[in-house]
Symmetry: C2
Subunit: 217 residues, 2 copies
């Protein structure tokens, strides 16, 4: 299985057994999630901003208004950190100390670069939509030249990357195993509820299957 | 309603109508979520790490192993940014450009300080558990002195804070309203599935109501 090369930044100092460098595992996490938290630095001050993303092969794309602080700050080629987190469960131990989360997260380090090529930019815009709702892109009006101009797209190579995964039951110490309380895991799932029609929906359009039956897994 | 004072960092440059400075709104978001993304800088490199937190009044508490990079880096009183994001829905517009998320997020700026006082530290540890599973703390073994020593707790004042909220349907332009596709919102919800007993559960303990009937809302 293809592996990322661990670096000083991506090597876990603690609980190294939770570290994962398989590209397949990383891609699976990136493809299941659709919100990342982007960290960048302006004058020594860190900012962490939630935003959508799209993946195409070994590249992660970010986008935003051409006028946004995040985009303008990052397009200069500064070091950024993109973190994607999926929450899979609550781990209830016998001891407060051993409570935990089951999760899968990915951290990506690197420098983002502005995408100038029009075809690559359009492919990235498609990836943003398809990342969230596969099938949607073919149904909607594509971005026009004005919208393309108003949107900046950045690309970040998936090179310096690691995942971190916790699964399974609580891990209490032997001397606590008789503590009189239930212990286990409450699994969590991001669930779609019934779609809500736009109140100004004018056309007679059927609810597409990707909306009526939306699921991430 | 009590308001945060906007600062250069917390004033939204774009879409300022999405900015919220009400403390009550901020607290509601912080209390519904339980994972934050903490941004900090080491030698100019930003790191963004997902972690749990607890809120007590106007203070946010973070914790981790006394040996962790995050804790050691932050305890020095450097500027950090803590972002909490709740995803409420997918906004499907007629145009690719107007696709969006419904979300509620909070950004907190400030310097975290190590909690040295034993009582405050214990209160924070309780807050971490109660943030996720209200009622759990009273059932489990409290941290002993060794566990207290192994855990570092940081406190960040809720002073330089803003929220950002998007709700409601897609907002397409008039000329796109007849595009022949369904438009609307797919609401999302973090749902708890059936709890899983720890495989090494020895005691006869009933599943507590907070686990059998877990809900964030």
């Amino acid at each position: 299985m293809e592996q990322f090369n661990p670096t000083a930044k991506t090597t876990l100092k603690r609980l190294p057994k939770r570290g994962v460098f398989d590209r397949a595992v990383v891609n699976q996490i990136l493809d299941e999630a659709f919100i990342c938290h982007v960290g960048f630095v302006v004058d020594g001050q860190p900012f962490v901003i939630p935003t959508g993303y799209g993946r195409i092969e070994n590249k992660l794309y970010l986008h935003g208004s051409a006028a946004s602080r995040m985009l303008r700050s990052m397009a200069g080629g500064v070091e950024i950190c993109v973190t994607v987190t999926l929450l899979d469960g609550l781990v209830l131990a016998r001891t407060a100390f051993h409570h935990s989360f089951n999760y899968r997260s990915v951290m990506i380090f690197g420098r983002a670069v502005l995408v100038e090529d029009a075809d690559e930019k359009m492919a990235a815009l498609k990836a943003f939509t398809e990342q969230v709702i596969p099938g949607r892109w073919d149904d909607v009006r594509e971005p026009n030249s004005q919208e393309m101009k108003a949107t900046s797209v950045l690309v970040l190579p998936l090179e310096e990357v690691s995942a971190k995964v916790r699964t399974g039951p609580p891990l209490d110490d032997e001397e606590d195993m008789d503590w009189p309380v239930w212990a286990g895991v409450i699994p969590l799932q991001l669930r779609a509820l019934l779609p809500l029609d736009a109140p100004d929906l004018r056309v007679k359009a059927e609810l597409p299957a990707y909306a009526s039956n939306y699921s991430r897994t």
